[in-house]
């Protein structure tokens, strides 16, 4: 019961933070999530003229009161989807989020089925092979000799 309560409380804390981030994004979080188009790093790791230009645009849009989505949409409209450091949680971008998770679940299921089959095949193995009647008769005779 206690872990569920902890998870519930954590969710209560996270939701307002996420909403605040959407409606009042910070320069730092956007710079960490947007790529510099000429250097292959995020904006916060680049000081190139192209990165500086986008940083200025972000600062202007934040000052104008744009939401995080509005600023990201504006950047995507100018530079294409590759300007975002992580794919979006919508449309084709969902594949990038869910495909690896699906792969991990599928791999785990394959391993689980393999282990289950392997362990059951071992259980079904007979303890001893049945002897040929003639051989069994001969064995009884041999044992009787020793008695």
């Amino acid at each position: 019961m206690r872990p569920i309560a902890v998870l519930f409380l954590a969710a209560l804390l996270i939701v307002p933070v996420a909403r605040a981030s959407e409606s009042h994004p910070t320069q730092a979080e956007l710079e960490g999530g947007v790529m510099c188009p000429v250097c292959g790093t995020t904006l916060d790791q680049s000081d190139s003229p192209a990165a500086q230009q986008i940083k200025r645009v972000i600062a202007r849009r934040i000052a104008a009161g744009d939401t995080k989505s509005e600023i990201e949409n504006r950047l995507v409209a100018e530079y294409g989807d590759a300007i975002l450091a992580a794919p979006r949680h919508e449309g084709f971008g969902l594949l990038a989020w869910w495909l690896p998770l699906g792969g991990i679940i599928a791999a785990a299921a394959i391993v689980a089925v393999g282990v289950w089959r392997w362990s059951h095949s071992r259980e079904r193995e007979p303890d001893a092979t049945e002897l040929d009647p003639a051989l069994e008769h001969r064995l009884d005779e041999e044992l009787a000799r020793w008695d």
Binding site: P37, V38, P49, A50, Q53, V57, E78
Partner: protein, 179 residues
Amino acid sequence: MPRAARLTAQTVAVALVAGLLALLIWRVARDNNKGVSQALAAGSHPTAPNFDLPRLDASGRFDLASVRGKKPIVLDFWASWCQPCIHESKRLESARKRYGGRVMFVGVDTKDFSSDARSWQRQHGIKYPSVHDGSGTVLTEWGGLPIPKIFFIDRSGRVVGELEAEEDLPRYLRQIASS
């Protein structure tokens, strides 16, 4: 699992891995070898790759195929954040005043903010038309960064050269204007 089903599953898995490997090799080869700049450096003169992009300084789109092979073209890849682009675009603007009737000048604003790019054009008095290549896809096809990158296309649609030194501009302009 029946033998046939196991074989099918194994074949599918191997085909999937082979497909992904082929995709990776194709992508790496494409990134390393393609591009007009690289072709010119290797001594060939390819036909100018086509593009169809939105106009920066007007509404509508510009399709290179509509003029390629009909008129000589100077293609200028630039951006408002690119400091050396100012000098080269101003030189092209001067050249346009002299060759404008015989040669078409087209700018490709790349990896740039279109509003900043329009301000930049006004500020530096650049009058030749430009298109907007925000994602840089067209730039990649022509050889990628760095910019400025200036190409000369003759009347038949072949790329005859890329500007590498100051004196290349009048030389290539004369060459394509008389093609």
